[in-house]
Amino acid sequence: MISRIIKEGFRGVGRHWAMSLYSAIAVTITLLIISLFLMFSANVRRFTQNVEQSVQIYAGIDYDYETPEKMAQIKQSILKIDGVRQVTYYSKEEELEYWLDSFDDEAIKEIYAPDDEYNPMHAAFYIETEEGTRIQPVAEAVGKIEGVDKVNYGGESTLSLVHAMGSVRRGGLIIVAALSLLAIFLIQNTIQLTIMAREDEIKIMQYVGANNRFIRMPFLMEGILIGIMGSVIPIIVTIWSYHYLYKLTGGIMLSSMFRMVQPMPFVLYVSGILLLIGILVGLVGSFLSVTKRLRTRR
């Protein structure tokens, strides 16, 4: 039974090769669009995450509040603020060391290194927010806490970057939604066309006494095969073009913050998704059209 379905499916594609090709091309176009979207959105996501993660709020502690109890109190107050994801404490000593490490020259380090117990640095909390857009309100709230001397988060430029990322993501989504709609329309039309040409065939099968399942199965197999056929080119293009782009840019765009997603497992995931969507589109498309033709009037 199953071998008949598979055999008939292959035969159907072979003997209606022009129509199969036409349908497969429609699937190909759709999948290329989807592939573009998947690669684009995954990278924008990665960029946005990078930016958001690297943006931290620095909260320096007033010298008068350096006792452990008061520190703990301040930390608790910060954690209570809405949108705070993580708070990390750095002591005066760590802050000094970090600052000294920023100099490459040992001689300069020597000059700045304090020779007695005096340490001019503030103890500090570094605060990460849940979302990039929460940076400003959180920073303002932190500034109001008693004992916080200074708040810094890179100011306007950071914020505008975060906002820009957000609109890039939203804009991309809208474009892709529109393109996908177009693609679905294209596929539906194509399959409608191919099935219409085979309406007589289905009717004859019914005359000979085939029940609906018997007629439908080979058609579904055809749909799956067309889906697979249609996803070959998009998968090749995806793997090749992403590797090429990654190599060309060295995986970095504009600045080190814009790191591209590593190609290797990523392109395979995208290919898998493309194949799956291709098969699904072929299957659903042929199911809908065949079922429509199978309805006998009586």
Binding site: R11, R15, G209, N211, T296
Partner: protein, 230 residues
């Protein structure tokens, strides 16, 4: 075999197609249904193969009340009857062999049996060498032979032929008639043939039912028909 009792058919659009049709066809009979265009011949065929339901009255074929069948039972019912059409209705993308074997695969016959039976009926209709040809590579007469082979492949008790010679020249029509007569004679298949080819009806004499404007005008057991008004 076929039993129509007080069959009326009125289409939804309001046209009346058949009035009080009573026909009884016994097993092994060969019957012509003749009549001009619009006389209700096609409607009668549609009632017999389950495509349409009679408005009133009952149609029984091989003991099955066709009008009472549910939609999903129609395919199974159709396995009991063979139907041959004027336009052959072969699957264009299947070979001759596949066209015939399809009718057998439908009834879940075993693969080896399918091959054997398909070759058998191809021999019966005289197309043994054409198994790998596609319908469009055959002449009209040959295509009709394939259609007949497909119709008789699963040994139906009843064969319904709707203008089987309608698209063929007289010589080819004769050949098809001889083939149908052979099937009727050798397998005892009941044949109901709709036609308006009066030459054929007069040459191969059989019981003839004349339909006119949806009424049965004559049912001549001795066969033959002369049109008086021409």
């Amino acid at each position: 075999m076929i039993e129509c009792t007080h069959v009326y058919k009125r289409y939804k659009k309001g046209t009346n197609a058949l009035y009080d049709i009573n026909i009884r066809v016994e097993q092994g009979e060969f019957v012509y249904i003749i009549g001009p265009t619009g006389s209700g011949k096609s409607t009668l065929i549609k009632l017999l193969d389950g495509e349409e339901v009679p408005t009133t009255g009952t149609i029984k074929v091989v003991g099955i009340d066709v009008g009472k069948l549910k939609r999903r039972q129609i395919p199974i019912y159709r396995r009991n009857i063979g139907v041959v059409f004027q336009d052959y209705r072969l699957l264009p993308t299947k070979t001759v062999f596949e066209n015939i074997s399809y009718a057998l695969e439908v009834i879940n016959m075993r693969k080896s049996q399918v091959v054997k039976r398909t070759e058998e009926v191809m021999e019966v209709v005289g197309l043994k060498e054409k198994g790998n040809a596609f319908p469009h590579e055959l002449s009209g007469g040959q295509q009709q032979r394939v259609a007949i082979a497909r119709a008789i492949a699963n040994r139906p008790k009843v064969l319904i032929a709707d203008e089987p010679t309608g698209n063929l020249d007289p010589a080819k029509s004769d050949d098809i008639m001889y083939l149908l007569e052979k099937i009727n004679r050798e397998y005892g298949t009941t044949i109901l043939m709709v036609t308006h080819d009066l030459t054929l009806v007069n040459k191969h004499r059989k019981r003839t039912v004349l339909l006119d404007h949806g009424h049965i005008n004559a049912d001549l057991a001795e066969g033959g028909y002369v049109q008086h008004d021409q």
